[in-house]
Subunit: 185 residues, 2 copies
DNA sequence: ATGAGCATGTAACTGGTTACATGATTTA
DNA sequence: TAAATCATGTAACCAGTTACATGCTCAT
């Protein structure tokens, strides 16, 4: 069986939280889970069809006058079972590829100024992100204090926190390393 | 002009260090740069052709009796200019997608044991990586003390160090968070 | 009036990996 | 003698994004 494609399962996971339309999935994949996962419509709609044609989800159509129908998908018992099976499989490691590092690697004193500007932007970004994640963490601890999902959710936010901190430290250090130093004549 | 595809430039960057064959590129992209960039043969060979057909690199064939020809590519002046131009363009941000986080997010107390095993593996991994990066850093500082590329190279290794440290901290914390705690009855 | 949000979906493209074909030489 | 390394390359596949088509409603 060993599936490779994770998209349908990612969506199934979202459906396990609550029934959703393709549009909702898109939003969820751009907000909560969006910090470490994303899906585009080109993936979502075909995947939802697939899910319902294999019986892992069922579709219900909500009609409201004067606006487009909502195709709401709900996870089935079979779907939950498949999701659990998938969750138990070891995750494939995320291939890491950074154009920024690549460019820094090939850079030299001539390009240092431009690079420093990128790093400064990145630093600002990391600072903002850190704040966001800390905010999410606080809300989670307050509002979901006794939710059985709390630990799982905290784990993922904490990842964001550590990553943002690391990026911040690194950016500062990198800016320092690239600072032009007068050379001994 | 604004190119999107970075592969040919990544290769051009490698050629700027020294002339290489496709085979060499593969190795470089699995060693030094391999920590933040990778290329497969299916990308490399066509890209090298493209590079030489557009005059950014030139090919020379090395023959040695009893073994396959080496097609060695060397960057041209035009190639260096193009590379510099590309290096000055802002890098596209790397989309981040983690199946691990996704699975952790959808997990619960029932899956915590399996997840902890993954996190422990990850922790071991991060520890090993940290050692590797620190090793590279040391060698770099020793052997390339006065190389004009030193700063650029250090910057990228330091990224690895900070990332590995963050992963380590996070993994420990996550294991702790997932530890089953007896609930008040 | 303009644009954002709601809501469906698809076709074309892109960037990439995997698996294969081929075959000699060196090392364990 | 088996396996790794050297060395070229391609065809098939895969996962994913982008851009488009369509059209109503609500807030500014």
């Amino acid at each position: 069986m060993s599936r490779r494609r994770s998209t349908p399962f990612a969506i199934l996971g979202l459906l396990s939280l609550r029934p959703m339309s393709g549009y909702d999935v898109r939003k969820a994949a751009a907000e909560s889970v969006g910090h470490f996962w994303s899906e585009s419509y080109g993936q979502i709609y075909p995947a939802l069809r697939e899910l319902s044609s294999t019986g892992l989800a069922r579709r219900r159509i909500e009609r409201k006058a004067g606006r487009p129908d909502r195709h709401v998908y709900e996870i089935t018992a079979k779907g939950s079972a498949e999701l659990r099976r998938w969750l138990a499989e070891a995750p494939r490691p995320a291939p890491f590829r950074s154009e920024l590092l690549l460019k820094l690697f090939f850079g030299d004193t001539a390009t240092a100024a431009t690079e420093t500007a990128w790093l400064e932007a990145m630093l600002r970004d990391a600072v903002a992100q850190l704040e966001t994640f800390r905010g999410i963490e606080r809300r989670l601890r307050d509002e979901n204090a006794r939710d059985p999902h709390l630990a799982s959710w905290l784990v993922t936010v904490r990842f964001g926190v550590h990553r943002a901190e690391a990026n911040q430290r690194w950016a500062r250090e990198a800016i320092e390393l690239l600072r032009p130093r007068r050379r001994s004549r």
